[in-house]
Amino acid sequence: MAAAPPTTSEKWSSDSHQYLAVEYDDTFLVYFRPSGETHFLNFLSYGMVHAVSSGPLSEEEILARMRTDFSLTAEELPETLVATTLSELDQAGLITALDAGT
């Protein structure tokens, strides 16, 4: 337990004032104000953006949260899928990494 992977020191956050979302049957159309882009997010990617809007969470915490919120097993929602989704969201600017130290 002592040696946590370096990525977990990072916490992710989002600002709900920066985006607008409309839900269409489990699909979310999201307008992101800073980039002026419109994205389609599915329940998972939107769930992640939404989850970190109320307070920064680490990757591990996000993973746990998604499994609980959507009643998914570890097998159904593997760690790697959350990791790649985080990186997609980060690239689009929808979520921001904060240093754990700050």
């Binding site: 607008l20 409309v22 269409y24 049957d25 699909t27 159309l29 307008y31 104000r33 002026g36 882009e37 419109t38 389609f40």
Partner: protein
């Protein structure tokens, strides 16, 4: 300064002079268009297909569109008597023989509206409306959209546009822009049979797209060119020879996913465009319809609209 009046009410000589001076001003829907470049084929076209459209021979104000129909610069002595539309910004425009002036005119106006006017979300789609609201039809070229539009006009709908759905930024309303409907190749006889010879322009033959003719908008459509409407239905028509007619309802998200790439300026307009497009799809349905004949397509539309909409 003259008040706007129908093309038909002007003397051909005055029309020609106004086109030469670059003071010919066409008013239609939300836009005004200043056009320069006189040619006999264009004058023939205007006095027939545009006879009921409102124009001024001297503009009373600045205009949205500034279109010059001019001889191509470099090859002007190379292939005789050619014409090319210059909408005032960089597009590689192809020189056309003078006889294709109507095409250059229509093309130039379309380019101007598509790429220059961004007070509306422009979606490449046909729009017709009745008292219940507007039907937006988005299809790839050759999808039978023009034929379906023409057919719906015979069944109690008025013409908004066969080319652009103009969606307001402040309210998700559709705005009419009833330019003539452009008909290509084999659709010309189909629509001619439907609406009668009197409504179809002279066929421009041998264009890069084959034969082209224009179906003249009705005076009643032009009279309502300032009356906007709420959408009642979004359709993605698909003509396929010999296919059994079928309608598939789309999730609004899928409809948006298809409408946005058909828009020339959605990305440019940002947040208001997001509100407008989600507003457009609010409480209405979207269908993909596939059919092999005009009759089938009309029956599909009828069946869909008969199910009372939310």
């Amino acid at each position: 300064m003259s008040a706007p009046s129908n093309v038909a009410s002007y003397d051909r000589r005055d029309l020609r002079a106004a086109l030469r001076n670059g003071s010919f001003t066409l008013h239609l829907g939300p836009f005004s268009h200043l056009v320069s470049g006189a040619s006999e084929p264009l004058l023939d076209f205007l006095s027939d297909t545009y006879r009921d459209y409102s124009v001024e021979l001297t503009p009373s104000d600045v205009t949205d569109v500034l279109l010059r129909l001019e001889a191509p610069n470099i090859l002007r002595r190379f292939i005789r008597r050619q014409i090319t539309p210059n909408p005032g910004f960089k597009v590689p425009a192809v020189p056309l023989p003078l006889s294709m002036s109507p095409l250059a005119f229509e093309m130039g106006l379309n380019l101007s509206v598509a790429l220059k006017c961004c007070r509306f979300i422009n979606v490449h789609a046909g729009v017709v409306a009745d008292k219940d609201g507007a039907i937006v039809m988005s299809a790839a070229s050759g999808g039978g959209k023009s034929t379906l539009t023409a057919a719906l006009l015979q069944h109690g709908y008025r013409l908004f546009s066969d080319e652009f759905a103009l969606l307001g930024l402040d309210q998700p309303l559709l705005h009419p822009y009833p330019r003539p409907i452009s008909l290509k190749q084999e659709t010309i006889p189909v629509v001619r049979d439907m609406v009668g010879d009197n409504w179809i322009s002279k066929v421009v033959t041998g264009t890069p797209k084959g034969d082209i003719a224009y179906y003249r908008a009705r005076a009643s459509d032009l009279a309502q060119d300032k009356t906007s409407a709420k959408a009642k239905l979004v359709l993605f028509p698909k003509f396929e020879k010999g296919v059994r007619p079928i309608a598939r309802q789309l999730n609004p998200a899928e409809a948006i996913m298809r409408l946005v790439p058909a828009s020339t300026n959605y990305s440019l307009l940002g947040e208001p465009a997001f509100h407008a497009i989600t507003g457009l799809l609010k409480n209405i349905r979207a269908y993909e319809i596939t059919y092999g004949s005009t009759i089938d397509s009309l029956r599909l539309v009828e069946q869909i609209t008969d199910q009372k909409l939310v």
